[in-house]
């Protein structure tokens, strides 16, 4: 099978642009990235289906002239899934905007706290210096 170079280049550019946008913090840009990337991926299926041909309607065209219908069915499924994903990301971006006034994904607070402890070379609050010698008192409960 020979691939179609134009389609391959278009897919590559779309996917690269999409991945770049996915690395942004703003959910709106991520959404655009998702849309661009998914279109790029769909084009890959067109490449996989081989050269263009006649509609796959039995009885109207000879079997060898027909385009492969299966990748098109897959692309259709992928498009539907992308639509649902976009709707969900838009909702999330809007909710984030409602709550924070912007739609940027922030760092995890707990992550940051633990990282700061590590930078200060400090012990966590849960560290407890217990020596295992019997002093007759219950140190844990103090």
């Amino acid at each position: 099978m020979t691939g179609n170079l134009t389609l391959a280049i278009v897919a590559a550019v779309l996917i690269a642009a999409g991945v770049y946008l996915l690395t942004e913090r703003s959910l709106t840009r991520i959404l655009v990235g998702v849309l661009v990337m998914s279109n790029g991926v769909n084009i890959l299926f067109l490449i996989a289906s081989g050269p263009a041909g006649a509609p796959p309607l039995i009885g109207m065209f000879a079997a060898e002239d027909m385009a492969d219908p299966l990748p098109q069915a897959m692309v259709l499924t992928a498009i539907v899934i992308t639509m649902a994903v976009s709707a969900f990301v838009v909702t999330m971006a809007y909710r984030s905007f409602q709550l924070n006034g912007h739609d940027e994904v922030s760092d995890d607070i707990e992550d940051r706290r633990i990282r700061e402890l590590a930078e200060r070379d400090d012990v966590s609050d849960s560290f407890e210096d217990i020596r295992f010698s019997d002093t007759g008192e219950d140190r844990v409960s103090e």
Partner: protein, 509 residues
Amino acid sequence: MNNLLTIPVLLPMLGAALTLILGRRPRTQRLVSILVLLGVVAAAGTLAWQADTQGVQSLWVGAWPEGFGIALVADRLSAIMLTVAGIVTLAVLVFSAGQEEDEVRKETPVSIFHPTFLLMCAGVSNAFLAGDLFNLFVGFEILLFASYVLLTMGGTGSRIRAGSIYVVVNLLSSSLFLIALATTYAAVGTVNLAQIAQRIPDLPEGTQGIIQYMLLVVFAIKAAVFPLSAWLPDSYPTAPAPVTAVFAGLLTKVGVYAILRTQTLLFPHRPLTELLLVIALLTMVVGILGAIAQADVKRLLSFSLVSHIGYMVMGIALASIQGLTGTIYYTAHHITIQATLFLVAGLMQRVGGSSNIDRLSGLMTTSPLLATLFIIPGMNLAGIPPFSGFIGKLGLLNAGVAADTPLAWTLVGASVVTSLLTLYSIAKVWNRAFWGTPVSFTTEDEEGEDEVHPGRPMPAVMVLSTCALIAFSLLLTLAAGPFYAYAENAAEALLDGAYGLAVLGEVVP
């Protein structure tokens, strides 16, 4: 032909539709969901029995001629995963039914919780039964979509933040999956797993490698294998307890199942042993070191979840019957035990008012029952004999010793150390949260606000469903002989090519 194969997928979908209609009648809704999941467990149990006695069960959906339609396949591996998944989802659903009315409104708005939960079960079943790479993709998408909704349920700030990370990471992995699908289709002209398995050895080395690595990366993201695991501890802990429990128990294991399936079925001639062993090693060690640094029980459990995925990858990497048996048994054990521990973490949050061990103390005095519920699965997770965790780890260690390479021996050492560190992290929670004197919770948090968390009693339904899961994990221990033998048969069947024969029958490749 076995029409029973459609039940675990269709029944939850129909149940989801029905519970959506019944949104205003919470009791009927709960009844419907529980009946549906009981039906799934019954169907999965029957399939497990049939797969064991009558060989691999398969069905070409919609009576399409063999080789053209979508195939559903249940061999022993699929059936055992399906059964364990069914039991765990059922227990978690019953647990969530135990919440009080006000909590329900805040944590799991029942009108959408039940339909979404059932849809997720349908997705999980579909992924386990898919005999077709594209159908596997669809199964993943169904369960992911349901999980997006479950994770962001209520739409609070922290859940939206956690949800954003989860959604974006999974979007990326889904896109990669699609790219892998397009590549596979272009290379072999089919997406049916059994047919791909027949055709793939004829491809050039490079093409085989691309397909294999792409599928591996996709499923490693879903299974949270290091270095693709960073999303998990960030996104799981904020969700409601029942949601986290079922996510932690099931969703990552679907990824493990997919790695297991594609590695053994499509690439038995390219096991990638060294690469996977190194990944398994890093997953174990990095995961458990992360767990030790945490103060929040849910985050600690999330990190230990990542670390224990390493054990499963180790068995897959060894690609021997012993290793695969260990992985299958360990996965079944881990689904149960991880879900139980997250449910217990939910109960701790109820009783103690917080899931942070800096704010918890003396839970043993407050609630001896809760302490018992925690220590049994906790010790099981750490692999203390005689629990099922020990049996699974022993199987994997045996497989590592049998492989007898320097790297396999390193892995054996690392898994013992990981097990010990797991025990340490569990003991840390035990010391800090359960021992000591009970404290009242009027601590000041970082913003200087008073956080008052009065402890609440544990509803009987929640305790009973957690007990049921613990009982099931004990059953895995007590009946380890038959279970382990079943896993061993499943592993042998993975390597002897019964799958392809059952699916394709006499179809000429």
